[in-house]
Symmetry: C2
């Protein structure tokens, strides 16, 4: 009977394998030189602005007997429920996200609109100091509100949110990334931050909001208030939740930019790093029954979600067209309509456009570099205290207000053009010609851009037939201001997206290039602004297909397509020579253990045995309760290999893997055995599938909350029915690169390492996400840091290495 052996000793059989280590080093079981350290790298990360400990998500199906039995008993009705719920949830996600996106826009346009109308009217009356005071105080108040709710209620809502959602979809779980509290703060904070004239976007926050809404809908309301729905029980696992969050993220982009196809592609290209495109539909089985071809199920559902967003947004905008929405601007699904039937370009236009793309790429990578540095500085300050955070937010708001109000005074007043269709100077809120301080019949061109909402500034920059509207100096000042403001604003403790700042900065850069080229080009300046925005987006975000489609959907001009593709490719290529994608840089700065799509070159030189760290905790198929409690209390692991030993089997064999959450559920139920025997099918009567469902929102049961009597501690549990009998395994000599591919592509949380030779324990280690992190590997094998494989990896150009 091996039940009395404490678990720490059970794997002490293995390190006695050193004797064949001198010869045949290629073949020897490498795990014999075992690392007795625990891997503590990348266990914490900055979520929003606070430091949190992080876990992995369980995307793999724990295919144990209990699960199989539960699945076998499901009839057609349950399968119908599952599929119906899947589509209903997508519909609801689309509905809620489009409503939130619409209300968000409505609120921003009205709050910011009233602010600008009031200040403009005061300036019309000559009360400039009063106007500044109103502008300054309303901005400060709004920023303060956003900062306070973010800092005190939901710190995870700070920032763009896209890095957090991206990490979540990669399998990283951190408390608060996705919760009701975060969701509400994100929506309110985003509205007030954008309205406060900070140069921050609302697309990133919308993606995060969409992800939160999707996850919350999947939770099925609150159990506390009795709002759960039985049909939602199939969604109580990370796998289905991940699919919903992907759809939510797609809906977020679709609602923010009114770009449904772009949203789907964004979710695919940027977010779903870890999902194979042909992800086989959540529970993997039920859906096969109803429909025959379900190859790209997730893609299809994401498409459905964004279609719902598009249709609802379209209907809501139709309502607003009749003027019932206050200051909400007109316009359909397309935000910046730059259609002109007469756009034509020729070979002569290609070289300047290529140059624009290349310089845009350099500027974009510089933007990424500076943003990364600024965020790192901010995060050092942020950990000190909440007062500092809020102080920074106020300082940035004051700085922004001064710049926005002060800079237009530098620009000289321009006489209104005679042949324009628009009113000049504009009296209302939006329009191309702001009066600001100018005499009647004149307009201030810098104020038209800078003393305006970001959306209106972009619209002005993209507008065609306005080539003579702006002066060179105006455009240069605006570009530099945007570049600086967008970098300093993004680290503020409030929801702050990056898309819109990048588009504004890029559009001003592009328009400036167009103005410099002047008569040497056939293209109008508005088109150059679009290309400039594309080059900046390509240089900073480094997406291709999705950005291309988003720009097309934003501007509604397919004739521009070849040019936009060219600019995106050039800028991405140039920028990739310097540094990474902005979201990857932020994730790295925040410390998320993100599994990269590519493996490091040196991983090919290592085997899994070289990185796996011990000691390993094992359970037996029939284990004493006391031992289980001991293991759970002394370790923080989330999965334990289960082995069968004599007399229950002839020789020690690996039975499978059991999850901590399932062990705790078993302990809570107290269905213990007096003797160590296998119970088999009887187990299914004691438990219901719901008890093993993964709870959302970080509601995990803790072992410390379970109090067992001494008598119970001496009893036994048969773990077999609850053990995943089909865990993925690798042999210890497997190359680390291949194991890493397996881990990432299948979306695992635990990967068991089995020995090469047969005369050892049946499992010699367990790999988790943290073991594949570059820091951990380099920490164990410092020689690789300066090896050829490592050095070649970071090819920073010399002029950036001085930092």
């Amino acid at each position: 009977m091996s039940e009395n052996v404490p678990p720490q000793q059970s794997q002490s059989q293995e390190p006695e394998q050193d004797h064949d280590h001198d010869h045949e080093s290629l073949n020897s079981p490498l795990l014999s030189r075992e690392h007795r350290s625990t891997n503590s790298t990348s266990q914490v990360a900055i979520v929003g602005v606070n430091l949190c400990s992080i876990e992995s998500l369980d995307y793999e199906i724990a295919e144990n007997d209990f699960f199989k039995q539960d699945w076998r008993t499901r009839g057609k009705i349950q399968i119908f429920q599952y599929i119906f719920m899947k589509w209903l949830l997508c519909f609801l996600i689309g509905g809620f996200v489009s409503l939130v996106g619409f209300c968000n826009n409505l609120a921003v346009e009205n709050i910011a609109g009233v602010k600008f109308v009031v200040t403009s009217n005061m300036m019309l009356a000559g009360r400039y100091e009063m106007a500044f005071l109103v502008f300054f105080l309303s901005n400060l108040g709004l920023t303060l509100f956003a900062a306070i709710i973010t800092a005190f209620i939901a710190p995870a809502a700070a920032g763009s949110g896209i890095p957090e959602v991206k990490a979540y979809l990669n399998g990283v779980d951190a408390p608060g990334i996705i919760s009701l509290r975060t969701c509400i703060v994100k929506i309110m904070g985003s509205v007030s931050a954008v309205s406060s004239s900070l140069l921050v976007g609302k697309a990133g926050p919308m993606v995060h909001t969409g992800a939160c809404i999707a996850s919350l809908l999947g939770q099925g309301g609150s159990r506390k208030y009795g709002l759960t729905w039985k049909w939602l029980r199939f969604f109580k696992n990370d796998r289905d939740r991940r699919d919903l969050v992907t759809c939510g993220a797609a809906a977020g982009i679709a609602a923010a930019f009114r770009a449904p196809v772009g949203g789907v592609l964004f979710a695919l290209e940027e977010m779903a790093s870890c999902l194979p495109i042909v992800l086989n539909c959540g529970c993997g089985c039920a859906c096969n029954v109803a429909v025959v071809a379900w190859t790209s199920g997730l893609l299809w559902r994401a498409f459905f979600t964004t279609a719902v967003v598009a249709i609802i947004l379209r209907a809501l905008i139709d309502v607003c067209l009749s003027g019932k929405c206050g200051l909400f601007g007109k316009g359909g699904l397309i935000m910046f309509d730059v259609y002109s039937a007469n756009i034509s370009y020729h070979i002569a236009d290609v070289p300047p456009v290529l140059l624009l793309g290349a310089v845009g790429g350099i500027l974009g990578s510089l933007y990424n570099f500076l943003l990364d540095k600024v965020l790192r500085v901010y995060s050092i300050i942020n950990v000190k205290s909440i007062t500092y955070k809020i102080f920074i937010a106020c300082a940035i708001s004051i700085f922004t207000s001064c710049l926005l109000f002060g800079l237009p005074w530098l620009a000289s007043c321009q006489p209104c053009p005679l042949d324009t269709a628009e009113a000049c100077p504009t009296i209302g809120r939006s329009g191309n010609y702001k009066k600001f301080q100018c005499p009647p019949g004149h307009y201030n061109d810098l104020a038209s851009l800078i003393f305006n909402t970001n959306d209106d500034a972009i619209r002005n920059l993209f507008s065609r037939n306005t080539d003579s509207e702006f002066q060179h100096s105006t455009m240069l000042i605006f570009f530099v201001t945007c570049f600086i403001l967008s970098i300093v604003s993004s680290g503020v403790v409030a929801p702050a997206g990056l898309f819109v700042p990048v588009i504004v900065t890029g559009a001003s850069y592009g328009r400036f290039v167009g103005m410099i080229l002047g008569s040497h080009t056939n293209l109008n300046h508005g088109f150059y602004a679009v290309l400039g925005a594309a080059s900046f987006l390509g240089g900073s975000m480094r997406m291709t297909v999705s950005l291309c489609v988003i720009i097309l959907e934003l501007t509604n001009n397919l004739l521009l397509l070849p040019m936009i593709m060219m600019v995106l490719l050039v800028s991405k290529t140039v920028a990739d020579a310097f540094n990474g994608n902005i979201y990857d840089l932020i994730m790295k700065a925040k410390g998320f253990p993100y599994l990269e799509a590519h493996t490091e070159p040196y991983m090919r030189q290592l085997t899994v045995a070289d990185v796996v760290s011990g000691p390993l905790q094992l359970c037996h198929g029939i284990e004493k309760v006391g031992n289980i409690v001991h293991i759970l209390k002394t370790t923080s692991h989330h999965g334990f290999p289960v082995i069968d030993e004599p007399p229950h089997s002839e020789s020690p064999v690996l039975y499978g893997l059991i999850l901590r959450a399932h062990l705790i559920t078993l302990l809570k139920k107290r269905a213990f055995l007096r003797t160590p025997v296998r119970i088999g099918a009887e187990a299914f009567n004691h438990f219901s599938a719901d008890e093993f469902a993964k709870k959302g929102l970080g509601n995990v049961d803790r072992i410390e909350d379970i109090n067992l009597t001494d008598e119970e501690m001496e009893m036994f549990l048969d773990l077999h029915p609850f053990t995943n009998a089909s865990p993925y395994t690798v042999v210890e000599t497997m190359s680390l690169a291949k194991a890493s591919t397996l881990f990432r592509v299948i979306g695992l949380r635990h990967l068991l390492v089995i020995p090469k030779t047969s005369n050892r324990t049946p499992v010699v280690g367990i790999l988790t996400r943290h073991d594949f992190m570059a820091e951990h590997v380099l920490d164990l094998h410092p020689i690789l840091v300066n090896s050829k494989w490592k050095r070649l990896r970071f090819q920073l150009p010399p002029f950036l290495q001085i930092f």
Copy 2:
């Protein structure tokens, strides 16, 4: 010394495991009841119109010591070469495919155009019989030419080509799918088949052509003519070739529809079933060195390729705009421009559009069903003899000619509208109003559609402000004719795409619905035609995002987006209830062992041991040459597990997997050892990496061509340096569903099955693609055929089950 044991006996140790089979059936090593049959299902398939034996592709990197050593010796220059070549090849693919696409269009427009002009002129002169004869004979001649070159030179070029390319990207290798001969026949055959007024498309053939061009460029010219380039040596593996073929397929769609973004998405959604979206860049290592963020490398390169296509096409069309291209129509990158600024739709338009989508979905699935049946009938006839094939082609051509020329006589002549901007009746080639037999001032509306090229018919159907042009009966006749002709034409022994026929049929259906609705709708009939085409495409092809983008790019109207999305979703959902995607049906009919993205429900109830079939052939780490020759001659396997036994190791251990191709290379080199010792690094001096490169175009060395002396047969080979020491493995108790996911997602060719208990041979089986096929599994376990899991899977509605 175990070298003298014949390989067949070496695994005879394993089946003595039955004694613990009575108790613990859940735990017992299931492989003990081993299947002694060999798996012969799905080893042959119909490629084009001929039956061929098929193999799998090696997507996994054979990570042996030799490969690692070769890789270690690569310097920065080689890595630069690799990356440079990768992009250069994409550029060349884009260039060649766009040229071919352009010439293809040019040739079709001119050949078909001359034909229609000549016949029209004869009819204008009243010589109707002569006109029919010219029309009939030219069609017959063109069809005959296409059929003869296809049947005699390259049978693999018949049909759409998309199923073949899809199977290739899934990992299925069949001779001739991708070769120079196929490529040339596909281009020429497609031009003549489309010009011959058969209702066949050119998009599918373009995809196949693109794939062929990509693969041929990757081959690096012909070794026979000394046209190889040293820099191409890195592409001599299936992995890099697959990436190129994906880019080629994307370029094909981009060139056929002038839809660059749609092309990328098509390649992603439809083709890359087996590729995880974050496919890590070919050789997996070299590219990491130069660029830091390379997450979606393949996506990016496909995008680059289609951007090249778009830019070159745009330039070529610019040249044609000045009228130098004969009868080639005008128009830019957008084929069917339906832009109208005043399109507006309201809630009231939604129900009819939903209905249109639903009925379109039913018709689309009916189309798939009938096409599948017709193709099966054709393939029975086709295997008989070439004469039959060509006879069928001629019969269909005659049938088509008669219908096209005969049907317009049924339609009554319409008086020309007075307010049209176009000439009426049209005298030239294209235009909305064909004169046909009508008196001056009148036009034949059916002839305008049917006696025209497919592109012009689509343009006429999509045209707006022509709501009164067509009569109800005309549209109905045209719809039925298209439906029938497109089904019977697609099985013809000539390149014959499906996209254009489906679009024509769908557009006529949509326009018919629009005409029926008449004044009950605000939308014009051209828009209904677009929606009808969308519903038919959705119902037949079952793609969503890519079709949506392709339709947008074809019609240049983003305002239609929400409607198109809705129609696609509805039609796909409805059609999925009946049967599968058209390409999947064709692949199934042709017998390709396509790995589905979803696993069958019953696979979750089986373990890998339940399907793996024996006998297993093993090699030893140091093996006698005679044994290797024996194994290679007596089996047709392509991978052999390599085990080390005492005295080379303490106990039998699995060393890895060696490929047949590598064994043959070793035998050809004759670098044998006199004594069984390990040679280690010395091996690297004898061989160069090029010798192990995978040859293209099915040029494999055969074991029968190698003649060894008796003395050599008694010598030894050290296989260790050439064995992939990191093969993917699964334990025999792994669930089949999970193993199948692993196999598909990683893109494996061989998956080793290792025993659960340690006292058996270190490897008990090997899984290949064929072992996961439903037919094989059901053949082994007939009880599953009628089980709940199986029955639920095929939910054909009762009215279709009568067939």
